[in-house]
């Protein structure tokens, strides 16, 4: 791969293509859409956490003078959900509510005031059911079952895998470390609340605008839920006011506004309020985890057995994938010769958890990096040296058959430790001051779609004409991360033109080729590769026409600075516009397509489809802390971060992704938590969100944010466009463990759970002062009946990527409505 110097646009700091719109208030978010005769929709949400719905009386609401329509669960016979294996959601609940916030009815009215008033007039009779508050509660109370399709009781999904005989490795290890950690749940808190506008066209077809990260998946869900052919639905993803994974599921309100627009023949908008955004959630799963890790006398890993227990909340969401992700990426960072994991997701009566930035990998990364710090302390090794010794090798195939490309982790570690003066300062700072190191790796796009198919993951289409203008179409979704900028920059680079000569149309299922959406850090790589293919095809057509004009071969035609010319023939030059005229004369109307499909994963075992990615990013971070030993109060003066992103397509934006990740990681480390409490018995004993508001759900302000020293490390990956890998999620992962390790360096106590608050530090300091271990964290991991593991020998033990056994699996109860889902697939 060539150096950045040979590019004219890629790698150069530039104003993003949508920058001017964003600073002038012109970016049109979903709630900014105002259509003639538009009505407004509000959802009535359950105030009880688990109940059968006895009756819903909407008669008074229907008589409110401002009301046009009231809908209930009976208007929606079909289930939907993001994963084909968990089609467990209803647009409005029919017979059961499963958490405080589950919607049971919808009012459509002339304005929001009238809709809200009418919500108060709806009478719902509930028959309360037992409430499950957390995974252990769920294991102990299988009878209060949330879903009939769960494996048993409230166990949504259990996984068990063995890559080599870990017990044998642990028995032969110089040391075995056993640690239990807990990572509390937290939420995305995008600044924009979700909004959707449904509209029926005069001919009966449907348009839905929504603040969604995944218009393609919403498209499928709406079609299935409402039995409308996909060809008659157009989903337009409005630019998202932040997503972070919180807008990747199809949501109730999106389906409801379409149904209402169909029934009324008028546009219908629903904008959630902040409390409702907390109920939509799909945020970080609370995870309890236990690591048993063997090392030799030098700290090299010999084997690891990881167990995770996830609090899934009330619905499936991406949960099965999340459950895999709490385990599958451990072998990608450091060389791990043998690995086994068991993972289990439980249903509880809380808002559903799902994918938040770092999806499922964040929690075990916290545990592993803190445990490595403990290992280094025990072996009296520098934690940086310990890690440098075990960094996985570029091109490696891991114990669980993940194929890695480039790895810049060693350089990341060296960079942050040099910048912070690690050698002179780590372990040597005065009491109360400390620094901690942690590393991580992350996917650059999931190697498989959420529904199995052999089609491309991203498609790009180009239209070019005699005006000199290029229009690029792609289903990718701009959520703030800069996907439109990556798309335009890629095309501009290859055609040698100015980004302003390119119009970009994205996230519109009628106009743009399918792209699976802005999740799993997939867009730059997958859309980028599709864009390269489309642009190179266009360049080929243009070069052919220009070569003919200059009577030379296409190989000598070059594109640069808005010109197309013959190399070495200064007089043989055309403006790009004139070159397009030639090309249009030769080929007729000009258009090309490009598409991208990830490589086949080497793991052939069942479940081996979660974890493979075309490329993995790597990060190292050092966090500095000041701890007040009197109060436990913790401040973070500085964070050093180095992230191997393969290639920074636009360094301004890439750096923004890295620093935004650090910010969000600090929020999770210090203060953000999705906490719940039980109301007293006289008030129903219900389990309620402690903090469904931005005031109570603390997130860092401009005053809390430390100085961040960012380095972007470029180890280009062969699979990435111009070598690029992801930057938007990976850099979040090392922040929490680095902070925990810094607290240990500062005051010698271990906080083995997140968030790390002043109270916990104080408690640990007290414990230490009384002669205890100076630790706060969970003590044990519950007994779970694990299924027989899939046994897959690692590559170096003669494995070929297949399991050597066929463990029996209890079939989950047949999903209601699965047949309908297949029908939509085929259409």
């Amino acid at each position: 791969m060539s150096n950045t110097d040979t590019f004219s646009i890629i790698g150069k700091p530039r104003r993003r293509v949508d920058g001017a719109d964003k600073v002038t208030g012109r970016t049109c978010f979903a709630d900014d859409i105002i259509l003639p005769r538009m009505l407004h929709c509000k959802l009535l949400r359950s105030h009880v956490p688990h109940a059968r719905i006895r009756s819903v009386d909407v008669s008074r609401a229907e008589r409110h003078p401002g009301v046009n329509l009231v809908l209930t669960g009976r208007d929606f016979p079909n289930e939907y959900g993001i994963l084909p294996v968990s089609q467990d959601e209803q647009p409005l609940c029919r017979d059961k509510v499963r958490f405080v916030g589950d919607p049971v009815a919808a009012v459509v009215a002339r304005d929001e005031f009238a809709a809200e008033e009418a919500l108060d007039l709806i009478k719902v009779e509930y028959e309360p059911l037992g409430t499950i508050s957390d995974p252990v509660d769920a294991l102990n109370n299988p009878a209060a079952r949330l879903h009939d399709y769960s494996e048993e009781g409230n166990i949504h999904k259990r996984l068990s895998y063995e890559f080599g005989d870990v017990e044998e490795s642990l028995a032969d290890s110089a040391h075995v470390f056993e640690d239990v950690f807990f990572f509390e749940g937290n939420t995305h808190l995008p600044l924009e609340q979700h909004a959707a506008v449904g509209m029926q066209e005069a001919d009966g077809r449907i348009t839905l605008w929504s603040s969604t990260q995944c218009p393609h998946y919403v498209h499928r869900a709406v079609a299935k839920a409402l039995d409308i052919p996909m060809a008659h639905i157009r989903v337009i993803a409005s630019p998202n006011g932040g997503g972070f994974g919180g807008k990747t599921d199809p949501f109730n309100h999106e389906i409801v506004v379409v149904k209402a627009a169909q029934m009324l023949g008028r546009p219908v908008k629903c904008c959630l309020n902040r409390e409702e955004v907390f109920y939509c959630h799909r945020g970080r799963h609370p995870v309890l985890m236990k690591f048993r890790t063997g090392v030799d006398e030098n700290g090299a890993l010999t084997g690891m057995h990881l167990q995770t227990l996830l609090d899934g909340g009330a619905y499936g969401s991406y949960g099965v994938a999340s459950t895999f992700y709490t385990a599958v990426l451990q072998p990608v960072t450091y060389h791990l010769p043998r690995y086994a994991f068991d993972a289990c997701r439980m249903f509880t009566n809380k808002p559903p958890c799902g994918p938040k930035r770092g999806h499922g990998t964040v929690q075990p990364r916290f545990g592993q990096e803190v445990q490595l710090d403990k290992i280094a302390a025990k072996l009296d090794m520098d934690p940086a040296v310990l890690r440098l010794n075990i960094v996985e090798k570029p091109g490696a195939l891991t114990a669980n058959y993940l194929k890695i490309g480039s790895i810049g982790l060693a350089q990341c570690i060296n960079t942050v430790t040099e910048r912070c003066g690690w050698k002179d300062r780590y372990g040597k700072l005065p009491e109360g001051k400390g620094m901690g190191l942690a590393c991580s790796s992350y996917l650059t796009g999931a190697g498989n779609s959420i529904y199995w198919n052999a089609m491309p993951h991203s498609g790009v289409q180009l239209k070019l004409d005699r005006s000199g203008k290029v229009t690029v179409f792609c289903g990718a979704t701009e959520i703030g991360q800069g996907s439109d900028d990556v798309l335009v920059a890629t095309i501009a680079e290859i055609l040698g033109i100015d980004p302003l000569d390119i119009r970009c149309v994205t996230g519109d299922t009628d106009l743009t080729p399918v792209d699976l959406g802005s999740y799993s850090s997939r867009v730059t790589l997958m859309m980028g590769n599709a864009a390269i293919q489309a642009a190179e095809r266009a360049r080929g057509m243009i070069a052919q026409a220009v070569a003919e004009k200059f009577a030379t071969d296409t190989g000598s035609i070059a594109f640069s600075n808005g010109r197309v010319f013959e190399i070495g023939q200064p007089e043989h030059v055309l403006s790009f516009r004139k070159a397009l005229v030639c090309a249009e004369e030769m080929h007729g109307s000009l258009g090309t397509t490009g598409s991208y499909t990830p490589p086949d994963p080497p793991g052939k075992y069942k479940g081996g489809g979660v974890g493979p990615s075309p490329a993995y990013s790597y990060t190292a971070a050092v966090v500095e802390v000041d701890v007040d030993t009197e109060t436990g109060w913790l401040t973070v003066p500085r964070v050093y971060i180095a992230h191997d992103l393969g290639r920074a397509m636009n360094p301004v934006l890439a750096r923004g992704q890295v620093e935004g990740s650090v910010y969000m990681g600090l929020g999770e480390a210090l203060m953000e938590e999705s906490a719940f409490r039980r109301l007293p018995a006289r008030l129903s004993n219900a389990l309620v969100h402690r903090e469904p508001s931005m005031l109570e759900y603390k997130s860092p302000t401009s005053c809390d944010m430390p100085e961040v020293i960012t380095d972007m490390i470029e180890h280009p990956d062969d699979n990435g466009p111009f070598g690029a890998k992801e930057a938007g999620q990976g850099p979040l992962l090392p922040v929490m463990p680095a902070l925990a390790n810094a607290v240990y360096d500062a005051v010698g106590v271990r906080i083995d759970e997140v968030p790390i608050t002043a109270e916990k530090i104080l408690q640990a300091l007290d414990d230490k002062a009384r002669g205890g271990a100076g630790r706060v964290g969970p003590d044990s991991f519950p007994d779970i009946e694990w299924p027989e593991p899939f046994r897959v020998p690692p590559p170096w033990e003669g494995g070929d990527g297949n399991a050597v056994n066929k463990p029996a699996r209890k079939r989950a109860a047949k999903m209601h409505e699965m047949d309908k889902f297949k029908k939509v697939d085929a259409s």
């Binding site: 002038t24 105002i34 108060d120 630019p239």
Partner: protein, 186 residues
């Protein structure tokens, strides 16, 4: 919620308000229970002003009233009578971005752009009053504006770059600006 009072909300007669918006006189007929935020977005269709909570918690709805940043979700439209209101739509003048806007666009001060209108107006109010604030003062002035995307650092840098650009225009000199973009180690 008290049903009697809420029922009134949807049936009240509109009030008539005269004010200046982005320098131009405006007359608007608005439901008296509406907030300034709702009046701007729904009645004047100035949707550049955003909302993230409508409870005074996020800062996304800030506009300038007589030059001061206020949370438009917490003020009544009725209180705008006779006031001069500045929204993001009026910040660019004569087709030229304000230096703050240009710096935010150039330096990554806006990622999703949802917090951006309010942050730009809050920063403008700061610079109008205090042309050369330090980093700590900028932090403090923006502490009521949550941003979930950027981690704030590129916002601070954009404000500082705008200060330089503003000074440059004032002095008519061509000072070298701070380098754009990140430390970059290929």
């Amino acid at each position: 919620m008290n049903r009697v009072t809420t029922l009134k909300r949807s049936t009240q007669e509109n009030a008539h308000i005269s004010c200046r918006v982005n320098g131009e006189p405006v007359q608007v007929s608005v439901a008296p229970c509406k907030t300034l935020l709702e009046m701007l977005r729904e009645d004047l269709r100035l949707t550049g002003t955003k909302h993230g909570c409508e409870l005074g918690e996020c800062g996304a709805c800030a506009v300038l009233v007589d030059g001061d940043p206020i949370l438009s979700c917490l003020s009544l439209a009725l209180d705008a009578e006779g006031c001069a209101i500045d929204t993001i739509e009026g910040m660019a003048q004569d087709g030229q971005l304000h230096p703050l806007q240009a710096a935010f666009a150039d330096l990554g001060g806006a990622q999703c752009g949802y917090c951006t209108p309010a942050i730009l107006l809050t920063a403008k109010a700061l610079l109008d009053r205090q042309p050369n604030p330090g980093r700590d003062r900028i932090r403090e002035a923006l502490s009521g504006n949550l941003c979930r995307c950027t981690g704030y650092q590129q916002i601070f840098e954009a404000v500082e770059e705008a200060i330089l650009r503003l000074r440059r225009t004032e002095q008519g000199t061509d000072l070298k600006s701070v380098p754009v973009g990140a430390r970059h180690n290929p």
